[in-house]
Subunit: 137 residues, 3 copies
């Protein structure tokens, strides 16, 4: 069985937004017990992020680390048409990844206790982001 739905997430600029509850709502509509839930962002400047859901400092520190790995406004970049965060956002998207697959059993995500699913916006400004959720089982 295959079920598919597109979620729309309006980001509030750079930062990560917990979408675990929205994902669980899709699962409830899908009615598939055992299988895989695949998420995919249709953009090259945001990511899907699986990380700790408890202490928000984890996601704050991830911003610190990623701002070193792919700094904004680096003079070495050639691609900067949309501003200092343009190329940095593309690089963060490659490092953190555009898709994520989570296993399911009993109609529930098999996430660990401390795992949350986040849309990670890498651009400075707010964007309307599409997340394709495909469930196979």
């Amino acid at each position: 069985m295959t079920y598919q739905e597109i979620l729309t997430v309006v980001s509030r600029g750079r930062g990560s937004h917990n979408i675990t509850a929205e994902l669980r709502a899709v699962l409830a509509r899908a009615g598939i017990a055992t299988g895989l839930a695949h998420l995919f962002v249709r953009h090259t400047s945001c990511s899907l992020l699986l990380t700790e859901n408890a202490d928000p400092d984890v996601r704050r520190d991830l911003e610190t680390i990623f701002s070193r790995l792919a700094p904004d406004g680096d003079p070495a970049y050639r691609h900067d048409l949309e501003g200092d965060d343009d190329m940095a956002a593309h690089a963060r998207s490659v490092l953190a990844g555009s898709d994520l697959t989570v296993p399911m059993a009993g109609g529930e995500l098999l996430l660990g206790t401390w795992q949350g699913v986040f849309l990670w916006e890498h651009r400075s400004r707010s964007h309307r982001r599409e997340v394709v959720v495909t469930i196979l089982g």
Copy 2:
């Protein structure tokens, strides 16, 4: 339904090669409407890359950024049998990833307008690369 095919891509040394058209041709042969298209490279020194398909400077800047994250010929490396690019290529492969899953609907990839799928060669010299495409739906 499951469909599988192995694509062969001959890389021309370090750099990224757009394989979106080849992937679309596999989809046409598969005849599956809704589901997931999974790509996997059978190598540890190249990657699959999902990034902007318009401005080639994006992929040029990605080379710049990755050459800092995993520099060639670092004296700290112990694994250098095949040259200065050997260990750097393995590290880039881990950072960018060896597999990628793209959702499908109506027999088409649900890529965003600006997304392209690339084989990313991390070795300096040309290589013959195998990409396993598996379609489930």
Copy 3:
């Protein structure tokens, strides 16, 4: 068809542990010929790693590289409740990824000759890790 099993891996602190044989044993029990084998760690401080299985120096050098990308005990981190390796482990988990999908044919993994699947422990101390294996085909 869908088959699912949870493997338990006891890590011996930071480092990578080859789990390819355990994964092959799951495949043998699943009895699915063609499809996808998906692995997922239910934790935010370890990863799944696909890399060279021959020279252990590759994985040693990966530790070197990742210790630069996400250093232990960085004074900029705010999340350090569980020690110097706490936040570094979360960041390594995001960079290397928590899930991995490998194609199958003839009931076998379509890994390349030099590819091995590893659980990569990012914490300093030993942990009991759960790896969910889901096979679709």
